[in-house]
């Protein structure tokens, strides 16, 4: 567990982020930028999950829900704007406000119930409760039911045009930067201290006069709201919503990314997501049966690098030093 934000890690991340931009500007290739936008948004979602999982011991498979809430707000506003002809529904700030309220609200309800349990029980409960929302989305026939639907309109902001791909990329980069900075601030804050203490020893937190469940719940809500914004950006990026974003395996993928990068480290989840989704992108365009290879990869990492690849690197470095 570390609350350090490694400068080298940040520099490398900065360089990685520049690659798609250079590819687009210098060579006119927008493929990396398109893939990169999605990856960076998912990386931010992974950072938000790591906040509760790594620093708060809440392995939540309900994280898909909040991504879904964000995405479906965009979808619903687009749908009803077309149906009623009301342009104000497309206002980006209004939508963001809705996203924050709804994802935080959903997180408060799910969190309050799941926090009756701990550890793997928490995981099971969050999975089951999260699926309620999946079922709801899959049954929402006006939004395409199981198949999902393409968006008629993206969210509209003054000046910024989300229809423009480089704009979306820049926003994704800024969003990720804000989420990393924000979670660093949060982990270092008095609240972060209480959250970390709750993970290590809830009795201690109780004995200084704080309710551990209240500390955990606030973290869960904050993390859910961040994931909601990630879902909002994701829907605007893909121009499409479907219930699959709400399936528990979406949160499962984020967990894998966190585990590969290093649980409870500031930048591990970011690198984990980049590695995982890049591997997925490469494998899926190379092999028909890429999931098989992907599965083998995950099993191998978990079996032979139990604390994540980041930890493995660190240990190798320590041995050399």
């Amino acid at each position: 567990m570390s609350t350090r934000l490694s400068p080298i890690g940040l520099v490398v991340l900065g360089i990685l982020v520049l690659v798609p931009a250079i590819d687009a500007v210098a060579f006119g290739n927008y493929y990396l930028m398109s893939v990169g936008t999605r990856i960076l948004i998912m990386a931010a979602a992974a950072v938000s999950l790591n906040l509760i999982m790594g620093y708060g011991n809440m392995p939540s498979l309900a994280h898909s829900v909040f991504l879904g809430v964000g995405a479906y707000v965009v979808g619903a506003c687009s749908y009803y704007s077309r149906a009623t002809g009301a342009p104000w529904l497309l206002d980006g700030f209004l939508q963001l406000g809705l996203v924050l309220v709804l994802s935080a609200g959903a997180a408060a309800v799910i969190g309050a119930i799941c926090l009756r349990t701990r550890g793997v029980y928490f995981l099971m409960t969050s999975l089951a409760l999260g699926q309620v929302f999946y079922v709801l989305a899959a049954g929402a026939y006006q939004f395409g039911g199981d198949d999902g639907m393409a968006l008629d309109f993206r969210s509209r902001f003054p000046v910024v045009d989300l229809a423009n791909m480089p704009t979306r990329y820049v926003i994704a980069v800024l969003f990720l930067a804000a989420v990393i900075y924000g979670s660093k601030r949060l982990v270092d804050s008095p609240f972060g201290l209480a959250l970390r203490a709750t993970r290590m020893n809830p009795r201690r937190v109780l004995a200084v006069g704080n309710e551990p469940s209240r500390v955990s719940l606030l973290a869960f809500v904050v993390s859910g709201a961040v994931a909601g914004v990630a879902g909002f950006l994701l829907a605007n990026q893909t121009d499409f919503i479907s219930p699959s974003i709400l399936h528990w395996t979406t949160a499962g993928d984020l967990m894998i990314a966190i585990a590969i990068g290093g649980l409870g480290t500031m930048l591990g989840p970011v690198y984990g997501t980049i590695a995982l989704l890049t591997a997925e992108e490469v494998l899926s365009s190379t092999f028909t049966y890429w999931q098989f290879a992907f599965g083998l990869l995950i099993v191998a990492v978990a079996r032979f690098a139990p604390s994540g690849a980041g930890e493995l690197l660190r240990r190798v470095r320590l041995r050399r030093a």
């Binding site: 409960t125 585990a259 599965g295």
Partner: protein, 318 residues
């Protein structure tokens, strides 16, 4: 449905529908029990949450459908699928999972999550993306009539076979030495070790039997659901509800919770719209009812968690 000449006839039809749906609920519940029994024992004994447990279910369904299509023998198909999952479970436990018990939960989740990917793609390689239906021979694909109630013969066979298995499981757990070890191990690993049990072999046995039960449930369900990719992840969710409801490590709790979940789910889907209509009127009920019924078992789980965080029959959680 039936003509409405007499009120009594309508009521009779309603009663028959209720009986039919109760049977369906019991059938779903028993299937969930086959899956949950293995899952809860493995978790209770080894502190190992196997997210890929549903993959054995899918494997059983595909194998059953495939063997049935090749040989035309349903019984051979079900037995074969069960046997293959038993062996596969044992191999996985010895070859991969045994070494991961000492790892944290996160790694266990990762490994079993990876296994889901591997399982799904393996099924896709062998049987394609479209899934596989399991066709019953005419002798089984019939319905029985008792007192005006028509019910699928195969579902009755399903219920009968599952009750037999559940009974056998209860007998083994309650009356045999191995069963005693398993119960001791599920309650407290240290006790089992103190009893001089070879825990390693016991774990392998329990894991393999859990996989076999899941495969059996899959093969038995294939004629009803037909085998498809991703069915394992779908079925895992109600199984976790069952385990949380029943209390982790308790087979009796899992049995009770399975039946409750099966009945609530089936009866909820049947009657939710009508019941919702009483409150909000028929127009809203048509859209609200189905969503509400799909959520019922989760609401039930939430309610039990609030009232009894350890589950219906669970020991107190750590």
């Amino acid at each position: 449905m039936a003509s409405h000449r007499k009120e009594g006839r309508v009521e009779g039809a309603q009663a028959l529908l209720l009986v039919q749906q109760v049977l369906n609920g019991v059938q779903l519940g028993l299937m969930l029990f086959l899956l949950s029994a293995g899952l809860t024992l493995v978790f209770g004994m080894m502190d190992f949450l196997n997210l890929a447990h549903g993959t054995f279910f899918m494997g059983g369904a595909f194998l059953g459908a495939w063997i049935n299509a090749t040989t035309g023998n349903v019984w051979l198909a079900i037995a074969g699928a069960t046997a293959v999952m038993l062996v596969l479970g044992a191999l996985l436990e010895v070859g991969l999972l045994r070494g991961a018990y000492s790892h944290g939960h996160l790694d266990q989740i990762l490994i079993t999550f990876g296994l889901i990917y591997i399982g799904n793609d393996t099924a896709r390689m062998i049987w394609g993306s479209d899934g596989l239906a399991m066709l019953l021979p005419p002798s089984l694909n019939a319905s029985v009539s008792v007192l005006g109630l028509h019910y699928s013969l195969f579902k009755l066979v399903f219920i009968g076979a599952t009750v037999l298995i559940a009974g056998a499981l209860a007998f083994v757990l309650a009356r045999t030495r191995i069963g005693m070890w398993i119960r001791a191990g599920a309650a407290d690993r240290e006790t089992a070790i103190a009893l001089g049990v070879d825990v390693k072999q016991l774990f392998t046995l329990v894991f393999a039997c859990g996989a076999a039960l899941a495969g059996f449930a899959g093969a038995l369900s294939a004629p009803l659901l037909s085998a498809s990719l991703g069915m394992g992840e779908t079925i895992l969710v109600p199984c976790l509800v069952v385990i949380v409801l029943g209390g982790v490590g308790s087979v009796a709790g899992a049995f009770l919770a399975s039946l409750v979940v099966g009945l609530v789910d089936v009866l909820g889907r049947t009657y939710a719209t009508a019941l919702t209509a009483l409150v909000v009127g028929p127009t809203h009920a048509a859209t609200l009812g189905p969503s509400l019924s799909a959520m019922l078992i989760y609401l039930l789980m939430a309610a039990v968690l609030v009232l009894r965080p350890g589950g219906l029959m669970g020991r107190v959680q750590p």
